[in-house]
């Protein structure tokens, strides 16, 4: 059964992912100085990736387009399990395999972002999670791990 948790910063409950991968807990941790700097650089770089690759569909404010592209703001998927979000970003939704199947709720399909590097995806997801849902960053290492499973 698919359960998406209503997530705030402390999203420690397991969620099932669209691919039925077992979710790991998203991490809430005290950020060291270095981590905070890295996070901040990630945010800025991620914003650039968002503008280039995502803004057209998800819009300037992450609010999406009714019936076409979902909002990232207040999104349980964006705020939830990092692995599931990475997988979705890599695969896309509604296209041909390895795309994830469409939910039927939105008329558009989302292309996969396999052509982006691990760092670019980490930066992008760090940006949108912070900007639109106020949750913690995603690392390139996490992206690499999911990519290895997906590709």
């Amino acid at each position: 059964m698919l359960v998406l948790c209503a997530c705030g910063r402390d999203d420690s409950d397991a969620t099932t992912t669209p691919s039925a991968q077992t979710g790991t807990t998203a991490q809430t941790h005290t950020q060291t100085q270095t981590e905070a700097e890295a996070s901040s650089a990630s945010y800025v770089n991620g914003q650039a990736v968002y503008v280039q690759s995502c803004l057209l569909c998800h819009q300037h404010d992450g609010g999406g387009v009714p019936n076409m592209q979902p909002a990232l703001v207040g999104s349980e998927i964006v705020a939830g399990n990092a692995e599931a979000l990475i997988e979705l970003t890599l695969r896309g939704i509604g296209g041909t395999p390895p795309s994830l199947p469409a939910s039927g709720e939105y008329a558009m399909v989302m292309p996969g972002a396999m052509h982006l590097t691990d760092q670019q995806i980490a930066d992008l997801l760090t940006y949108i999670r912070q900007e639109y849902d106020n949750v913690g960053p995603v690392s390139a290492k996490e992206v690499a791990a999911v990519r290895a499973e997906v590709e």
Binding site: Q52, S53, L55, L56, C57, Q59, H60, D61, G63, G64, V65, P66, N67, M68, Q69, G92, G94, G95, T96, A102, Y106, A107, M108, V109, P111, G112, H115
Partner: protein, 412 residues
């Protein structure tokens, strides 16, 4: 530029005088809200007796056809009944049949003479459309020839090998054209036909023509042009160029015509068909001449044409007779530029072809001057229909508002 007049009659349900649901129309015309909140309105038809049928994108309490009646003849359609366990975009009337275009099948209901609502279960007329996302809306029209015309939008943007992925080339040939990316014709009276086996492909090379109107031996269609020129080919196109390209093309289609998608797109600034970047184009190279059907008019990029109506009435002045109204749902993909469209245009015709430039006929639907996202639009024009007395009806997908436009002034 014509002078505009803002007039709003307060007869509609829930509409108070002066309430800001008004739109602007040219001098001599009156816009009246005849119903509000009909549901997630898509296309619309008006019956000979004045009853109105609106297709809903999502069922309302289980039913996807809103049936409106002005029971007391006061000009506002207070009576609404919902019928039909369907949902989708297309709707058409032929004698005592109400046809409905769901995303993956076209059905029809019996509509008795004295009944406001259709009766019985839907009868499947055509099934077997590919169940893929993007451009699934099946607009339909029953032609003068009694045949069923169906828009089969392509489940794609530009037929790339890797969908919507920067730099990915197009599939050669584009296999989608075999079953979509075109307009198909079917027998309107034969049940359980299978797409594409039992139909005829009327025209190809059309990415998505939500706006179709068969009239006088041809199909008039306005096409949604492709997206993302700059994000897919940043070395060839700037963001500004993406906002301005390609044109939304209006076609006058005959059997066998080819609108050029995906191999080409239309550059409204150059007034020229160009080779698409997915197929070797570079923003400068024109398409092969003589190979594709030329548009009869080019509209601004991304305005999203969702309905076209050739005016066959006599209520409007001579200038409007035989001409084409187009409802533009409004763009979502012009960022970082502001969004545009959100209006109804009119193009004068002579002998079945445009005789001049288009003009904005009805405006102000969005309710705001600058639109960054469709979410800000109060209304988005979606459907057009002509009443038996020659009035023009417009419906909106956001609030389910229905307007009636009448000509009350003198001849222009």
């Amino acid at each position: 530029m014509f002078a505009t007049t803002l007039l709003l009659a307060a007869a509609a349900v829930g509409c108070q005088p002066g309430e800001n649901t008004g739109i602007t129309v040219p001098e001599g015309f009156t816009a009246t809200v005849i119903h509000e909140g009909v549901g997630s309105a898509r296309h619309m038809v008006v019956r000979d007796n004045g009853d109105i049928y609106v297709a809903l994108r999502q069922r309302q309490n289980g039913f996807g056809i809103a049936c409106l009646r002005d029971a007391d003849g006061d000009g506002s359609y207070e009576t609404v009944e919902y019928a039909g366990k369907v949902q989708g975009t297309g709707i058409a009337l032929e004698e005592n049949w109400l046809y409905f275009g769901e995303d993956f099948r076209v059905v029809r209901f019996e509509l008795p003479d004295d009944s406001l609502t259709p009766v019985g279960d839907p009868e499947v007329i055509v099934r077997g459309f590919a169940e893929e996302g993007q451009h699934a809306a099946k607009s339909i029209d029953i032609g003068d020839d009694g045949k069923l015309y169906i828009n089969c939008g392509a489940p794609a943007n530009a037929c790339q090998i890797k969908m919507r992925t920067p730099g990915s080339p197009g599939m050669e040939p584009c296999p989608i054209l075999e079953y979509a990316g075109g307009i198909w014709v079917y027998d309107a009276n034969k049940p359980n036909q299978q797409h594409t086996r039992d139909g005829v492909r009327y025209a190809t090379g059309l990415r998505n023509c939500v706006a179709i109107d068969q009239h006088d031996g041809a199909v008039y269609a306005v096409m949604h042009g492709r997206d993302q020129l700059d994000s897919l080919f940043p070395d060839l196109y700037t963001p500004q160029q993406n906002a301005d390209l390609p044109a939304e093309e209006m076609f006058r289609l005959e059997q066998g015509n080819d609108g050029g998608w995906p191999y080409t797109y239309y550059d409204g600034g150059r007034d020229e068909r160009m080779l698409a970047p997915e197929y070797g184009g570079d923003g400068q190279t024109p398409a092969e001449k003589g190979k594709y059907t030329e548009p009869i008019q080019a509209f601004p990029a991304h305005w999203a044409p969702n309905a076209v109506l050739i005016y066959e009435g006599e209520q409007f002045p001579e200038w409007y007779r035989g001409g084409a109204f187009v409802a533009f749902h409004g763009s979502w993909n012009r960022a970082p530029e502001m969004q545009a469209g959100y209006n109804v245009t009119f193009t004068p015709f002579e002998d079945g072809l445009p005789s001049g430039a288009f003009e904005v006929f009805a405006d102000g639907f969005a309710g705001v001057d600058e639109i960054r996202s469709p979410r800000q639009a109060e209304h988005r024009p979606m459907g057009l229909a002509q009443g038996p007395d020659g009035s023009l009806f417009i419906c909106d997908s956001v609030k389910g508002t229905v307007w009636r436009i009448t000509h009350t002034g003198g001849d222009e």
